[in-house]
Amino acid sequence: MKLSVVVLEGPYTHEASDSAYNLIQAALKKGHEINGVFFYHDGVYNVTKFMEPPQDDRHISRRWMELGEKGIDIVVCIAAGLRRGIVDKIQTSNVRISGLGQLAKMILESDRVIVFGD
């Protein structure tokens, strides 16, 4: 199955980002393909590079960066990002900022699309 995942909430405040990440890990383990991850709404805050959570907590932006490193397309919505001050230079590596058209493309290319939000 080709799966795309949409995340509408920011890191730490809401569980959406964790649920999405855990689901993706399970899908990868089962041999499915993650076609893309699309961050929208406050979800755009998930992949900023200045996050420094305490050592005993998960590092949310690093987790997404590592998925990006594996070749998964991690996209931050440019309209939602700019509105909130999220620009390229504060993003972690292996993610990209692009338009909502990327979400449309993910829908066209995936077998399933799942939304996590509030």
Partner: protein, 135 residues
């Protein structure tokens, strides 16, 4: 609807009220973009989502963007399949005529209204979708 296995059916479901969170405003942005790709898009307003189509909304004193006005032109963006849940209206004491029109018919110039449907009719549409984007 022009049904073809190549053309994906995408439904945007709006269940939240319009101004308390940004969900409806950004859902609208998604509708407009997704509609520009070759997909059969439908938009469904359920539960508090029906408040998004209420006439007479004025955000001037909030200082926020009056994005609701774009709902009055959905037809211009090729979004013609717009549905509203009948029970959601009834439960909230809203009459059909209190809802905004979604555009004008390009031939007759007559206003186009969102279609009010039952749960059952909406559920039937949901089952036909490839993707359901919820806001």
């Amino acid at each position: 609807m022009n049904e073809s296995s190549e053309v994906r059916n995408v439904m945007v479901v709006v269940r939240k009220a319009p101004h308390g969170t940004i969900y409806v405003q950004e859902a609208l942005e998604v509708m407009l973009i997704v509609a520009a790709y070759s997909m059969n898009i439908s938009v469904v307003f359920l539960d508090d989502g029906v408040y998004a189509l209420k006439k007479g909304q004025d955000t001037s004193e909030l200082g926020s963007k009056p994005f609701m006005s774009a709902f009055r032109a959905l037809v211009d963006w090729e979004i013609e399949h717009v549905y509203v849940d009948r029970d959601a209206l009834k439960n909230r004491g809203i009459n059909e005529n209190e809802l905004t029109e979604i555009g004008e018919d390009e031939n007759t110039g007559e206003p186009v209204h969102p279609q009010v449907l039952s749960h059952k009719e909406i559920y039937k549409l949901m089952q036909e979708q490839h993707t359901i984007l919820s806001f």
